[in-house]
């Protein structure tokens, strides 16, 4: 697609913004696309739901906000519930399996779940859950190439944590590839 809208949702502290940042950076810096990241947050949001949006496009992004995302990356049930219906017809739901209880969606949608928290915890740092999600995202969607995303992860995380984060990314990616190989989960 010429333009893809992506919404990432979760709660404060999960790295929702960084997640969007990495996707945008991957697209615009490492893949020659245009990518605009915006974020919704508010004083209302202290520690509660937050979301970031990326519009990836082959041409300059003029309207910066997401209207009906083709990808919803959900890291919390709250966020998922808030945004699940405001999506494109063919939306791909990419969700944290243990935090989000999937509901019924339109016929053209697809959904891929990953136990990102558990994978992150296995890696010893719950905090990399968002990077696991990203690896998984790289596997189950084709908005931004895997390599660009991986490079963006490497150059966006705090220095000293690259290895851990790349491992998290790879774990998520592997999980996604395996899952895709199995089957698409239709809901």
């Amino acid at each position: 697609m010429a333009t893809t809208e992506i919404r990432i949702t979760g709660f404060g502290g999960q790295g929702v913004i960084l997640c969007g940042y990495i996707i945008g950076k991957a697209a615009s810096i490492f893949n020659g696309q245009h990518a605009t990241l915006t974020q919704s947050f508010g004083p209302e949001a202290r520690g509660s739901a937050c979301s970031s949006q990326v519009v990836v496009s082959d041409t300059r992004v003029l309207y910066p906000y997401v209207t009906a995302p083709q990808v919803l990356l959900a890291m919390s049930h709250d966020g998922y519930m808030t945004h699940k219906d405001k999506v494109a017809k063919d939306c791909i739901y990419v969700y944290e399996k243990d935090l989000v209880r999937l509901e019924k969606h339109g016929p053209k949608t697809s959904a891929f779940g990953v136990p990102a928290t558990r994978i992150a915890e296995d890696l010893g740092r719950k905090i990399v859950l968002n990077i696991v999600m990203l690896g998984f995202f790289a596997a189950v969607t084709d908005v931004v190439p895997h390599e660009a995303l991986r490079k963006a992860v490497e150059t966006s995380v705090p220095s000293g944590t690259e290895e851990l984060n790349l491992k998290a990314f790879d774990k998520g990616y592997e999980y996604g590839i395996e899952l895709k190989e199995k089957a698409e989960v239709k809901v």
């Binding site: 709660f11 520690g47 509660s48 919390s76 049930h77 709250d78 935090l99």
Partner: protein, 93 residues
Amino acid sequence: MKFWRTPLDIDKLQIPRGELHILKERCKGCGFCVEYCPKGVLELSDEFNSKGYHPPKAVKPEECVNCDLCELLCPDFAIYCVRAEAGEKEVSN
């Protein structure tokens, strides 16, 4: 300098008993109540509430002395204690 009241530790002779109420959905799992309950009544449960936090549960409810400290410390108005109807017991020490 003579204005304060009962210190945190319990030094009354007669101790009431408390009936705990935990509003699980409000809890954000900070653990204040668990940490500062003088009687070790509470523990964080494994259970998640819908926001993803682990609310406390009373593991030794019979020990609760209705000191209200959990209620006072809880930053989310998620726990409170009312005096139980049952009789009061004396402090052992």
